[in-house]
């Protein structure tokens, strides 16, 4: 019987649909847990799911490539989801129009700060040059950050991991930081969350309100463009 069970496992783990279903199942459980422990900030569904799945792969000795054969069906939806952000943005067009100048000035300052602080703090704490390059675009959304790092000769998959950690940090920590600073305007909260912590911060911002989410989408989109311009420029000057 035991042998048959092992055989079943050996068979199932070769099926992409197994890892696809497992990812959905784990995320569902993590979301339930996050709802149950409402107010406990470390119970972030993305972070919990990544932790649980990583541990599972680690202890079953499953390669990431095998996992990703199923995971890619979810991963692929990131691109159309990024395009879809145009819809909530369009619905906020009047608010964006009347805040256009402050938004663009904040974008320039915030984007530059995110890059300089990431590299500066990493450097002060002794990160290697290849890690520093992977940290530089970490506030930009994953596909952008990975594309930039790849072009400059860094490690795209390390960037993906760092970008997602950044997103979780923003989703968990940003509402707390903004509360401490008594920043209550939904547009300001959203823009800060989206600029600093891209899509994961944006997903968190949508939980506050539709307006917060739309401005987060704007911050994320604009910072993707800005980071794609600034990181190669700064790299050319300083590296």
């Amino acid at each position: 019987m035991n042998e048959r069970l092992l055989g079943l496992w050996a068979h199932l783990q070769t099926l992409p649909v197994f890892w696809l279903a497992l990812t959905l199942g784990v995320f569902h459980l993590a979301s339930l847990l996050a709802k149950r422990t409402r107010g406990f900030p470390l119970a972030n569904p993305v972070g919990l799911s990544i932790l649980a799945l990583s541990l599972l792969l680690y202890f079953t000795g499953t390669s990431y490539a095998r996992y990703f054969a199923g995971g890619q069906w979810i991963h692929f939806l990131l691109a159309p989801a990024t395009v879809a952000l145009a819809v909530p943005l369009y619905q906020q067009k009047e608010r964006i129009h009347c805040l256009l100048k402050p938004l663009l000035l904040t974008l320039a300052g915030g984007s530059l700060l995110a890059i300089v602080a990431s590299v500066g703090i990493g450097w002060a704490l002794g990160a290697s040059p290849s890690s520093l390059l992977s940290l530089a675009p970490k506030s930009a959304t994953a596909p952008v950050a990975m594309g930039i790092v790849e072009k400059l000769g860094g490690i795209p998959s390390l960037t993906a991991a760092v970008v997602i950690l950044t997103g979780i940090t923003g989703a968990v920590g940003a509402p707390w930081v903004l509360d401490r600073l008594c920043i209550r305007e939904p547009a300001v909260r959203g823009f800060a969350m989206g600029l600093a912590s891209h899509g994961i911060g944006t997903a968190r911002a949508f939980q506050e309100s539709e307006q917060t989410g739309a401005f987060a989408g704007l911050g994320m989109g604009l910072n993707a463009l800005m980071t794609a311009v600034l990181v190669p420029l700064l790299y050319r000057i300083f590296a």
Binding site: L78, L85, T106, L113, P143, I183
Partner: protein
């Protein structure tokens, strides 16, 4: 819903096409988002029901979509073992610092603007 999703894919492919032809240093999805926004603004009407439904449908699960890429962290355990204080320190402090200063900057700038209008 189906035609809405098709519209999203069409703008994604348009973005990829533009990136390829103009050799832009940007991902196709971000250019696709800009194109869709441009199209909606040019038309000046609310997005159709199908597009609206597809967009809300997919954005509802936005955070799920980051999970498979995030699991890729297991490819870097060795590096993390060596450099975790620097990487974690950079992620935590730089991210929260950016949130704080971006928030403060935008609030200060938008207040000035409102005051100027009144």
């Amino acid at each position: 819903m189906l035609t809405g999703f098709l519209q999203l894919l069409a703008f994604l492919l348009a973005g990829e096409t533009l990136v390829y032809l103009a050799a832009l240093p940007l991902p196709g999805a971000v250019v696709g988002m800009a194109l869709l926004l441009g199209w909606l603004l040019w038309r000046g009407r609310e997005p159709g029901e199908n597009l609206g439904k597809a967009a809300t449908g997919i954005l509802q699960f936005l955070s799920l979509l980051f999970v498979p890429a995030g699991v890729g962290i297991i490819l870097h355990l060795e590096r993390l073992q060596r450099e975790w204080p620097a990487i974690l320190g950079s992620v935590l402090f730089a991210t929260l610092l950016s949130v704080a200063l971006t928030g403060l900057l935008l609030r200060a700038l938008s207040k000035n603007k409102e005051a100027g209008h009144e």
